[in-house]
């Protein structure tokens, strides 16, 4: 990487998930944040911040266009003993992603229900529907599944970035790109799922005796899971594969049945978490077998020796940078300008990121350094 | 019940390993249906003696025969009434009195019937639903007596049962105890600090020495007929004699 001589400082505050970000911004403790959707849209809607850029447009130019984001992962021991199940999950995910791309506004609606019961958010005098927020955020997320060569290349960028950050210390520390890919990916399930979809026949996996734990985050990024569950009837009727909620009235079901050709194959325990590292911890302790998760936590977990593989993409892009309303910044360049002025004035701006080594952290650091700003972690 | 105490002594070992001789060479025979009072200076081992007879402590040497058989542990045939109030405060008066029968496994009907009989005897029939804290000190000790009697033991051990009562109540209780004894004919061992009380109640008075307790003298009181008049000449004379024994026994 070719970092210029730094001409200013920016502080980064890690908030362990997105939870405190709106509060911190509204109380002027931070000058902005980078988050995943829909928490990017929360700021403008609440009137506390302005979106200056979405993650695909972060500098350097085109570097992050279509950057990989969340991925579907599985424990390898589980894959080995239940290959047909993992393939079926892959198929369900791919079908749901297709549905999202064909019915974006319905998908936003479903996600609004999953994340907020389609309720309203109240910010002082402003009240907005969660549906509205999701409809704003959906176009900024690109829902794709294919683990293409280009996509894998994008993933490698994160490995490099994490190496630079010093958080990769295990099996991926000194690997070549090919070795890294071999350690990270297993595209078998994707290929087999596509084959089944193309053949219009999903194979019925043997029944699972125990519930299968599946982790996810409360983000639009994992909308394919929400859509698969909420539209289970449609998928069941159309493709013969469905994730049927055991309680159809639940807004955020936690027990769903995998049905293939009308047969119940397994019970899934859906486990939400605040941030990726938590999910990877659950995977490490075999509490969950599969996870919808951001790629850096998955890379870190594999690096730390968790027997895990990345199976396919879930989405590209889908994060954004927000600054406080009082900021003069309206786009990345004016933001950099502002940050440099503040640094020169001895009051460097503070940006929040959901976690050290998270996808958002990696991109923001990269972009800042690219723009001639050096990053310091804020010590509380 | 007849009690025969032979060469009984008791040495306590304190936490620091010190040896405290409490009783020494006690030889005493208590006849069936006898009312025996035990007098002695504080700390001379009166309570210890009763506790050993009740089976709550073991003697260091010596033995106790109950109707010819060796004593072994607490027995239903010997009931003890303690100086401090010892009622179960969470049980009603009736449930307190029927406790002994309850642990014997007698059924409700039967044990309440027996308990009521003895509550009647101590004049507290109308208080059976009350909790102990609602009673006065004297009433509580009467409940304790009823509880002890309800299992129909052959002997009653009473450790300064009236010590905490005021003078008037105490006199009343003494008269009532006499009455109860007359009706039920138990063997009674009665510890007291009051010479007056001992002379009023006892057939014989055992006077102990200072610690370690030994028997100084056994004073017979039978010649004074019941109910005793505290002003009659015999009474006053025996009282004087016992008082002399006690003050002569102290070292000052």
């Amino acid at each position: 990487t070719t970092t210029q001589q730094a001409t200013g400082d920016v502080g980064i505050l890690y908030t362990k998930g997105t939870g405190p970000m709106p509060t911190l911004l509204a109380t002027k403790q931070i000058d902005g944040y980078i988050a995943w959707q829909p928490f990017v849209e929360v700021a403008p809607v609440a009137g506390i911040g302005r979106v200056i850029t979405y993650s695909g447009n972060l500098p350097p130019d085109d570097r992050w266009k279509n950057h990989p984001c969340c991925v579907l992962t599985s424990r390898t021991d589980f894959m080995n003993s239940n290959p047909a199940f993992v393939d079926a999950m892959g198929a369900a995910t791919i079908l749901a992603t297709r549905y999202i791309n064909d019915h974006q506004s319905e998908a936003a609606d479903i996600t609004a229900e999953w994340l907020a019961g389609k309720g309203n958010f109240t910010y002082g005098n402003i009240t907005v529907s969660s549906v509205e927020i999701l409809e704003r955020s959906f176009p900024t997320v690109k829902f794709v599944n294919e683990p293409s060569e280009q996509w894998m290349g994008g993933q490698l960028e994160f490995v490099y970035a994490l190496r630079e950050l010093g958080t990769i210390t295990g099996t991926l520390k000194n690997t070549t790109d090919d070795q890294t890919k071999a350690l990270l990916f297993d595209t078998g399930p994707y290929d087999r799922a596509m084959a089944m979809i193309n053949a219009s026949s999903i194979a019925v996996p043997p029944a699972e005796a125990n519930p299968v734990g599946v982790g996810y985050l409360l983000s639009d990024h994992h909308a394919s899971l929400f859509v698969a569950v909420k539209k289970w009837q449609y998928f069941n009727d159309t493709y013969g594969i469905a994730l049927k909620p055991e309680d159809p009235t639940a807004t955020r079901p936690d027990l769903v049945d995998l049905l293939v050709k009308g047969q119940k194959v397994a019970t899934l325990k859906l486990i939400p978490a605040d941030a990726g590292p938590q999910l990877m911890q659950l995977a490490a302790t075999k509490t969950i077998q599969m996870a919808y998760v951001g790629n850096p936590p998955a890379i870190s977990a594999i690096d730390q020796g968790t027997p895990l593989k990345i199976l396919m993409a879930l989405n590209n892009e889908g994060s954004g940078v927000v600054v406080v309303t009082s900021s003069p910044a309206t786009d990345w360049d004016s933001f950099v300008q502002w940050a440099k002025e503040r640094s020169a004035a001895g009051k460097p701006i503070v940006m929040a990121a959901p976690g050290k080594g998270s996808i958002q952290d990696v991109m923001l650091r990269y972009a800042l350094e690219e723009s001639g700003l050096s990053v310091k972690e804020v010590q509380a | 019940m007849k009690l025969a105490i032979r060469d009984l002594s008791k040495v306590f070992v304190t936490g620091t390993g010190e040896q405290v001789p409490a009783l020494d060479g006690i030889n005493l025979t208590v006849d069936d249906e006898e009312f025996l009072c035990i007098l002695g200076p504080s700390g001379c081992g009166k309570t210890t003696l009763l506790r050993i007879i009740a089976g709550l402590d073991t003697p260091t040497t010596g033995s106790i025969q109950v109707d010819g058989e060796a004593l072994s542990g607490p027995s239903r045939r010997i009931a003890m009434i303690f100086q401090e109030y010892s009622l179960f405060p969470w049980r009603t008066v009736l449930d307190n009195v029927s406790f002994g029968l309850e642990v014997q496994g007698r059924d409700r009907e039967e044990r309440f019937a027996v308990a009521r009989k003895y509550l009647d005897l101590v004049g507290l029939a109308s208080f059976e639903r009350n909790l102990p804290y609602e009673l006065s000190g004297g009433m509580r000790q009467r409940v304790a007596v009823a509880r002890a009697l309800a299992t129909e033991p052959a002997a009653l051990l009473m450790d300064e049962p009236f010590g905490a009562l005021d003078a008037q109540t105490r006199n009343l209780m003494q008269t009532e105890l006499q009455e109860i004894w007359r009706k039920t004919r138990k063997t009674i061992l009665f510890v007291t600090h009051s010479v007056d009380e001992a002379v009023f109640l006892a057939d014989r008075i055992v006077v102990l020495t200072e610690r370690p307790g030994r028997i100084r003298e056994i004073v017979p009181v039978q010649k004074c007929p019941h109910p005793r008049d505290r002003t009659c000449a015999d009474f006053v004379e025996i009282r004087r004699h016992v008082l002399d024994l006690i003050s002569g026994g102290s070292s000052d």
Binding site: L115, K269 | G55, S86
Partner: protein, 253 residues
């Protein structure tokens, strides 16, 4: 006089709150009263898809109930044993003293590893919160049993089991009950922490944390008030039972 005065301050606080909220005009720092009250007044309306206030309160109560019952079922027999037998006490005391100061919350990671995500690890954490107060009070209560009561029972022919069941347990009951009251209070505090563990999808703790994600402070405060009210309600319940059942306490003699 007491009652009106007691209500004066909360009312004053509410007024100050509302004025301050209007003045600060930042709902993240202090949401207006009129955004919080409707939430409390319609406790059956769904909040952000996590269910209603009432529903989540019931869920939290169920969890506390389960953890509390497990704590009670283990702590009381163990406490009676440790209070009664010097041996058992000597054996277990050091271990208990070592485990006691570890905050229930710090067990979170192990709880998840051992009991897996979900109700069981929450029960474990709640259990840890309630266990020690119940245990220590049971031990205290049993130790403080009047020796005379035990000896009376013995002279009346009670076996050791009967002494334990009919004298020691009822005699120690008021102290044990205090332990239960304190233990329940701590369990109630722990449920909030437990519901912050990953994988939770309901409960008052989860509700507040979830609302936090979207900066919905009025839900957080409504949640806190509900937590507070339920906490008091149970404390009063425990105390009223205490007054009724253990009126003899302190009047033993």
């Amino acid at each position: 006089m007491r009652r009106p005065l007691g209500i004066l301050l909360p009312i004053l606080i509410l007024i100050v709150w509302e004025i301050a909220a209007r003045f600060i005009n930042n709902q993240f720092i202090l949401p207006r009263l009129e955004t919080v009250l409707p939430v409390l007044l319609s406790p059956t309306i769904d909040i952000l898809g996590t269910g209603s206030l009432l529903h989540n309160a019931m869920v939290s109560l169920e969890r506390v109930g389960a953890g509390f019952l497990v704590a009670l079922a283990i702590a009381i027999p163990l406490g009676v044993g440790m209070g009664w037998s010097r041996r058992l006490d000597a054996l277990a005391d050091t271990t208990i003293q070592l485990l006691r100061p570890i905050p229930p919350l710090a067990w979170g990671p192990l709880a998840i590893a051992w009991f897996s995500v979900g109700i069981n690890s929450m029960i474990f954490i709640i259990f840890l919160g309630a266990f020690f107060p119940i245990l220590l009070n049971t031990i205290d209560g049993v130790r403080a049993i009047k020796k005379t009561w035990v000896e009376v029972a013995q002279t009346l022919g009670a076996s050791e089991r009967q002494v334990l069941a009919k004298v020691v347990l009822p005699g120690a009951a008021p102290t044990i009950w205090t332990g239960l009251r304190v233990g329940f209070g701590i369990a109630w505090m722990c449920v909030i922490a437990a519901e912050w563990l990953p994988g939770t999808t309901s409960g008052l703790g989860y509700l507040t944390l979830y609302a936090y994600n979207f900066g919905q402070m009025h839900y957080i405060i409504a949640g806190m008030i509900t937590i507070g009210i339920i906490g008091i309600a149970f404390d009063l319940l425990f105390r009223s039972v205490e007054d009724r059942w253990f009126c003899w306490r302190g009047l033993e003699r």
